[in-house]
């Protein structure tokens, strides 16, 4: 260690460090790139035809807002570099195509079948590098750690989505949706791509393993349900107060009226 710290001051140290840094990032990037290529390969079987089919679908359904070659218009952002995951999430949850312009795209019945979605994804992925559709291994909740995932969820997600994933309000008509019933894949893709106003949680912020832990946590609490009876929407003290004032006092008033009434 001593030797190393002495050499740190050497004039060539900076150059060496730079070279080392470039080497590491470069190799990591190639590794990451090849992984995502591999994933792209196994989610899309016949790449070339898929891209072509996807382009046709895109021109017919998406180009009005996103532009003929996905370069973006005043009505929709550019999709170059958003990656297959973004398309799979947006189209796969029915958010795209949007019904109308609004504060945010809403989930609704899905417009395309799985094959069409993967063709669209393949086309958009071919436009520029971006997050790929996650593989099965990072979605496998049996390998995740729910406690670790819960900690990450509380720090990074709970402020918008609520600690029990019940959803919450954002500014000017936007909102964070509830996460109950959202598939593992879509949760992962949302974290990786940051749909709408959600921030992006790239792999250097929350690693794929951490993302799997978060998904494990969400699926655990969803499977658990509530321990103490009906959860009242998991909305916290407001729902509880409303319940006491309506149902609680309602039952009590019914009893008081019976108690003070005169029998026939």
């Amino acid at each position: 260690m001593k030797a190393l710290s002495k050499k740190r001051r050497h004039p060539l140290a900076a150059v060496a460090l730079l070279l080392f840094g470039l080497l590491v990032t470069g190799s990591l990037y190639t590794a990451a790139g090849s992984i995502s290529e591999a994933k792209a390969a196994d989610t899309t079987s016949a790449s070339v035809t898929d891209v072509e089919e996807g382009q046709k679908l895109f021109v017919a359904n998406c180009a009005t807002c996103h532009g003929m070659s996905a370069e973006g218009t005043a009505d929709g952002p550019s999709l170059i570099g958003v990656g297959a995951a973004a398309v799979d999430f947006q189209v796969g949850t029915g958010r795209m195509p949007m019904q109308m312009q609004g504060p945010q795209a809403q989930a609704k019945p899905v417009q395309f079948d799985d094959e069409q979605i993967s063709q669209l994804s393949a086309y958009v992925a071919s436009l520029g590098a971006g997050p790929a559709i996650p593989g099965e291994d990072v979605l496998d909740t049996t390998q995740g750690d729910a406690a670790q995932g819960g900690t990450i969820f509380r720090v990074n997600c709970a402020m918008c989505h609520n600690a029990a994933a019940g959803g919450g309000a954002l500014t000017r008509g936007k909102f964070a949706p509830t996460l109950a019933g959202v598939s593992e894949k879509h949760i992962y893709e949302a974290m990786a791509t940051g749909p709408q106003n959600m921030p992006v949680f790239n792999d250097s912020n929350i690693t794929p393993d951490d993302k799997r832990d978060v998904i494990t946590f969400l699926k655990t609490i969803e499977a658990n349900g509530s321990a103490g009876g009906a959860a009242l929407g998991n909305l916290g003290p407001v729902a509880e107060g409303l319940f006491v004032w309506t149902a609680g006092l309602g039952i009590i008033i019914a009893f008081t009226i019976w108690l003070t009434s005169r029998p026939s």
């Binding site: 840094g21 500014t171 992006v200 349900g225 108690l259």
Partner: protein, 349 residues
């Protein structure tokens, strides 16, 4: 219109007398005639009510027994699944509810149908008579007179002084509620400082791993704690001041004021996560609108304008943490915050 008759000077301040309202009123017809109940007229109905009451008490007994079933059969120590716990909790609740409602409804039903239901009349009495009051005043006067407190002002005044002073130590006793052992000045100084300092690395919350500038892509948000936080004395106190939100936006879109030009790294900015209103963590970052929203009271801050308040109750902008990159490419603080973080207080200035 008829009111003016009250307005004579002699009557000023007095209240309306009971009898002037009573004139030209309908007479009180007295209590309506008593209507007998079914059970009063029909012994069979009474018998039926008796059986109903007994049935309700039996339901209570069954409820209590059911509670024991829920406690011993459905419940066990150790790990229970949520479903088991929910069933047990519901069973305990329903058992108790039937045990209690059986008794309660039974007794009330008994009282309503079988106990006499003639309304009785009781006269009110004055709370205390004029004479009693006069006697009491006389007694108090005598007691005061016998103490001689009015005649001996020296005793009276020193007693008042002593009594006024005596509770003050009790207030000062609470001085050591503050367990830090520091002077007020030191404490206020401490509130102004956080763990951030020149060269302290920005690390991920909660893992504590450092963040490279290249990790932070456009539109992402990192929740950040200072390096070495987990080893700090009073970790939570330090964390409560030092948490930071790290975001990246296009430098073109940012309005940067004079003196803060080099506080960001290529559009990567760090702001205190503690709301300047009453201190909730403001962690809701909207990547396209660049708004930061506090979930507690909805203060909204605009990241493009150095986190100035654009909506809600907060009174000043979020403090910005000046950052830079160190030789290894990791994000580090240039210094501590330049102003106190969190809610405003008197000494903040």
């Amino acid at each position: 219109m008829g009111d003016h008759s009250h307005g004579s000077p002699e009557e000023s301040g007095t209240v309306a007398k009971a009898d002037d309202v009573a004139q030209d009123r309908f007479p009180d017809p007295g209590l309506p005639p008593h209507r007998p109940r079914l059970a009063d007229r029909d012994p069979r109905a009474a018998k039926r009510h008796e059986r109903q009451v007994a049935l309700l008490f039996t339901i209570s007994i069954i409820g209590t027994l059911f509670f024991f079933v829920a406690y011993f059969v459905l419940g066990r120590l150790g790990e229970m699944t949520f479903a088991e716990l929910r069933v047990q909790n519901a069973a305990l609740g329903l058992g108790t509810a039937f045990a209690m409602l059986g008794i309660g409804v039974g007794i009330v039903h008994w009282a309503k149908t079988l106990m006499p239901d003639h309304e009785l009349v009781e006269q009110r009495h004055e709370i205390s008579s004029e004479k009693d009051r006069q006697d009491a005043v006389d007694i108090i006067d005598t007691v005061i007179e016998e103490t001689g407190i009015k005649r001996r002002p020296l005793i009276r005044n020193t007693l008042i002084g002593a009594i006024a002073l005596a509770p003050i130590p009790a207030i000062f006793m609470f001085r050591d509620l503050d367990r830090t052992g520091k002077t007020a000045h030191q404490m206020i100084e401490q509130m102004r400082h956080t763990l951030w300092d020149t060269g302290v690395r920005l690390t991920r919350d909660p893992s504590g791993t450092p963040i490279k500038a290249s990790d932070v892509q456009l539109g992402s948000a990192f929740h950040v704690i200072p390096e070495g936080l987990e080893n700090a004395e009073n970790m939570l106190n330090e964390k409560a001041k030092a948490v930071v939100l790290l975001m990246r936006m296009d430098p073109q879109e940012m309005n940067i004021s004079e003196g803060r030009e080099d506080w960001h790294v290529d559009g990567i900015v760090a702001y205190s996560k503690i709301c300047t209103h009453v201190g909730c963590p403001i962690a809701l970052y909207e990547q396209h609108t660049h708004h930061l929203l506090c979930p507690c009271h909805q203060s909204t801050f605009d990241l493009a304008n150095e986190c100035k308040v654009i909506f809600g109750p907060a009174g000043h902008a979020l403090p910005q943490l000046p950052i830079t990159v160190d030789a290894d490419g990791y994000l580090v603080a240039q210094s501590d915050f330049h102003e106190p973080v969190g809610p405003s207080y008197w000494e903040r200035g």
